[in-house]
């Protein structure tokens, strides 16, 4: 196989895996920001928490990797409800700046807490054998883990798409994102809807955090370092849009991977340059509301 | 100087499939006193937004004093003599009434570009601001914060801001809406006393106000001009009555136009 084709396939494969991670972790943030206009910079902390739960479950309790992901997602999702009800609720009417600062404060507290319990050194997770190693297709060996990530991503996309487009609740969410006041006047309980979306979104973030361990390693600073990426995906995709988040994750994931493959040092540049270009042309993102 | 202060030609605006303004033609001569009426949802405020530039039309033209301003910004139109009041007060709530009016005058005269002199050092601005406040009986409230005033008085400030621009064309969006009737007569007195050269378009639901003030009336229905004419003609028009089914004069006010 010609060299450039191999590189192209590698870029696509790795880029796709990265994009799946970005999508899974960011979709919750996009929908909650689109629904309530609430800037939640603690979202990265939820992802980090999920990651650490997976670490503890697999290493200390010997629970399998995949079940741990599920448990982490559910746990963080449930815990997020406490945050939403107890704290965030009071700031829905506050200014952007106040929301930014409050949630950054929470993120700092989370980072400090997890540093205390887990230490600052990056952790890894023991993977089941079927996720270790490669799938060999002759011209290139593809890491099984990334293949799994892509597969899982596709499954989740289908599930979310179905939930969003075909179920009653999905319709209500879309309506509320589009025009909250109108949705409320039609009888949709937007508050409850938001709590639900927030919980699911945080759970997905936790899932993403757990999946990220194998890709990037997990340390408490994950909460802030990767937050920038999530925000970028959300802004570029458009608030409240499943399609937008997916498209943005794909574009940014593939571009970033391509940049790192082809331009090594300058690679990190790409994702930000793409962001600036997209936002200058379409400030509301790919599929955001005007 | 042309006699036509404001002209709107074939103005259209759509939001997706929804056409909110349809082929609207409107002319305001110098010194016009025209009322824009129509049932709720007719697109009256949208039309004002299109004229002032807060909204861009899908097609059509807007001419101010004979000059095509369709492509110019809202701020530029204001600088060329187009002023408006908003249906819901848009004031600087954290500042005093006096500072609100001074802000307008400073912008108008370019004084606001000055980064060095201290606010309040130019007496002429203060004097002029107080003139407007005097006329609207707001002098006693001059040093109060806007957000501390009752809504009716805030509405007067809203009008003061538009007047302070010394406009050639003035668009008033339901100026008396939300004002208790004890105070609304003051607003009408002020509107009456305005420079006869200013072209005024007033959106109103209250027919008493309309018939007292207007020399011409434009009726807007579902985004299109339904009919135009003198108050007498409109009064006598059966179709207008039909379109206003259930909305007799005095019953309206304070809703989307």
């Amino acid at each position: 196989m010609p060299k450039f084709a191999i590189i192209a396939v590698s870029i696509l494969f790795d880029g796709l895996a990265y994009a799946m991670f970005l999508f899974i972790t960011s979709v919750g943030l996009s929908v909650t920001m689109g629904l309530m206009g609430f800037v939640n910079l603690a979202h990265g902390a939820f992802a980090m928490a999920g990651g650490y739960i997976v670490v503890s479950l697999t290493r200390d309790l010997g629970i399998g990797f995949v079940p741990s992901l599920g448990i982490a997602a559910v746990t963080v999702g449930a815990a997020s409800v406490v945050f939403e009800r107890g704290l965030y609720r009071r700031l829905y009417k506050a200014t952007d700046l106040e929301q930014v600062l409050l949630t950054i404060g929470l993120a700092f507290m989370a980072i400090a807490t997890f540093t205390y319990f887990y230490g600052p050194i990056p952790k890894s997770v023991p993977l089941p054998t079927w996720l270790q190693g490669d799938i060999n297709l002759g011209f290139r060996a593809f890491p099984s883990y990334r293949a799994f990530l892509i597969g899982l991503g596709i499954v989740l996309i289908c599930v979310l798409w179905y939930a969003f487009e075909r179920t009653n609740i999905g319709a209500k969410i879309r309506a509320a994102v589009d025009n909250r006041r109108m949705a409320e006047s039609v009888g949709i309980n937007v508050d409850r809807l938001f709590t639900l979306t927030f919980a699911v979104g945080s759970g997905l973030a936790a899932l993403g955090g757990g999946l990220a361990i194998q890709l990037f390693g997990l340390s408490p600073s994950f909460a802030v370092l990767y937050l920038v990426l999530f925000l970028i995906v959300v802004a570029v995709g458009g608030l409240g849009s499943l399609k937008g988040t997916l498209l943005a994750a794909l574009v940014l994931g593939v571009f970033d991977t391509a940049g790192k493959y082809l331009l090594a040092d300058a690679g990190g540049f790409f994702i930000y340059a793409v962001t600036v270009v997209v936002l200058l042309i379409k400030p509301q993102g790919f599929y955001g509301r005007e | 100087m042309t006699d036509v202060a404001l002209q709107v030609l074939g103005l259209n605006r759509s939001f997706g499939a929804l056409r909110v303004t349809r082929d609207v033609d409107l002319t305001l001569e110098r010194g016009a006193r025209r009322a824009l009426i129509g049932p709720n949802g007719a697109g009256k405020t949208t039309l004002v937004n299109l004229i002032t530039g807060a909204l861009k039309p899908s097609t059509g033209k807007v001419l101010l004093n004979g000059v095509d301003i369709t492509a110019t910004s809202q701020a530029e139109r204001a600088r060329r003599g187009l002023a408006r009041t908003f249906q819901i007060n848009q004031l600087f709530r954290g500042l005093t009434v006096l500072e609100n009016v001074c802000m307008v005058i400073a912008e108008r005269d370019g004084y606001a570009n000055n980064l060095w002199r201290v606010v309040g050092s130019k007496r002429v601005i203060l004097d002029e601001a107080l003139d407007y406040l005097d006329a609207l009986r707001l002098t006693g409230d001059a040093l109060k914060l806007v957000r501390e005033l009752p809504y009716g008085r805030q509405r007067l400030v809203e009008i003061a801001l538009a007047l302070a621009q010394r406009p050639r064309v003035l668009l008033l969006d339901e100026p008396a809406a939300g004002v208790p009737s004890s105070e609304s007569h003051l607003i009408l007195d002020v509107v009456d006393s305005l420079d006869p050269d200013i072209a005024i378009l007033i959106i109103e639901h209250d027919m008493d106000v309309v018939f007292r003030f207007a020399r011409e009336i434009t009726v807007l229905v579902q985004g299109a001009v339904f009919t135009q004419g003198t108050p007498a003609e409109i009064m006598a028009n059966e179709e207008v009555r039909a379109v206003y089914l259930g909305q007799r004069h005095g019953a309206g006010g304070g809703s989307h136009g």
Binding site: R90, A94, D96, L97, L101, G105, L106, M109, T113, V228, I232, V234, A235, L239, D265, A266, G268, F269, Y272, T275, V276, L279 | A54, A75, A78, Q90, F92, R93, L95, E99, C102, M103, A106, E107, R108, A112, N113, L115, W116, R117, V119, G120, R123, L126, D127, E128, L130, D131, Y132, A135, T139, L143, L163, A164, R166, L186, D189, L194, P196, I198
Partner: protein, 349 residues
């Protein structure tokens, strides 16, 4: 009588011309009082000078505090007065810092005052450039654009680490003596007074701008931008102007930073730095200039004390402080003071 929009005057409420004159005087007096220099404003300066005599061995730290005050001040201009929320202000700080650094390291130019002025001009230029394009946007879009551009500036430095020294930085930057005379002594005495002097001069300028008609217009933009458009205010031009000035001041702070530390690395562009001054400003209180003084001082002192004990506890503490501030003191410590003063005034009546 001025040529107003009124053709005939509606009967004014106080027909007596003496009454009107009285109100006129009251109004003028009120406005001037709001903007005139008041005696409480001397307190921070007195404190800064007192610190010089009370803590002679902490003057290097003192210099750092003053630099952060200047930096936070520049953010207050755009955040507190114009209402622009940005996550990339560190970019200008870094640009200023590197201007001074590169002048010394690559061009051998180490005269302090001209270097700092250069830092301000270069940073201001970039402020203008970014501002023209970015300030057409608000909200999350602007947040992300400012963040992304700041990171790109940092990445550019990283790319050309041969010039910038990368994350290891440009070391050993020796500053020439101030005014050709005063050597930078080991304990940072000269440096402290130098930074204080720069701060005072810049602050005077900032204060004038804030109390000018332009500054008033900024408040108008922050309070109700819709209204500003409707009265003909060239909003974008105003925002770019203040952004340029703020960037220049941040650049000056950055230049002073390099001079104080004799060292600069790419870490000056970190998001952490942008976040830090935001926290300082919120703590002190936005839109009131002196909030920068208060917030920066409190933050730096607390950080110095707690992060030495345990960086983790410091992070927890600052996070908690942030949360509590937003929930209970959204207008910062100055806001709390104002509230208290309000109670006292009410009591007196």
């Amino acid at each position: 009588m001025s040529d107003t929009a009124l053709s005939k005057s509606v009967e004014p409420v106080s027909t007596a011309s003496a009454d009107r004159k009285a109100m006129r005087e009251r109004a003028a007096d009120y406005l001037l009082r709001r903007h005139r220099l008041g005696w409480p404003e001397l307190l921070p300066w007195a404190a800064a000078i007192a610190a010089f005599f009370l803590f002679p061995d902490r003057m290097t730290f003192g210099g750092q505090v003053l630099i952060m005050v200047l930096f936070a001040l520049s953010l207050d201009l755009i955040l507190g007065y114009a209402g622009i929320v940005t996550l990339g202000h560190a970019a200008f700080f870094g640009i200023g810092a590197y201007t001074v650094g590169l002048l010394i390291a690559r061009l051998g130019w180490s005269e302090p005052i001209s270097s700092v002025i250069a830092a301000g001009l270069v940073a201001g230029f970039f402020g203008f450039l970014f501002g023209v394009f970015l300030l057409r946007y608000r909200g999350l879009t602007l947040l992300m654009l400012t963040l992304a551009t700041a990171i790109m500036v940092q990445e550019t430095g990283n790319l050309r680490s041969d010039i910038s020294g990368g994350y290891d930085g440009l070391p050993g930057l020796v500053i020439s003596p101030l005014f050709g005379h005063f050597d930078y002594d080991l304990y940072g005495h000269v440096n402290y007074l130098y930074v204080l002097g720069v701060l005072a001069i810049v602050f005077y300028g900032v204060r004038r701008v804030v109390h000018s008609p332009f500054g008033q217009a900024l408040t108008g933009i922050r309070e109700n931008v819709r209204r500003m458009h409707a009265i003909g205010s060239p909003v974008h031009r105003r925002l770019v102007t203040v952004y340029t000035i703020a960037a220049g001041i941040a650049g000056i702070a950055g230049g002073l930073f390099t001079q104080t530390n004799a060292f600069v690395t790419l870490a000056v562009f970190d998001f952490d730095v942008s976040a830090k001054i935001m926290v300082m400003l919120i703590l002190g209180g936005t839109g009131r200039l002196y909030g920068a003084f208060l917030g920066a001082t409190v933050y730096m002192v607390l950080e110095d004390y707690f992060s030495k004990m345990s960086p983790t506890f410091w992070q927890l503490g600052i996070g908690l402080l942030l949360v509590l501030t937003v929930l209970f003191a959204p207008r910062g410590v100055l806001g709390l003071f104002e509230k208290a003063a309000g109670y006292f005034r009410k009591e007196r009546r």
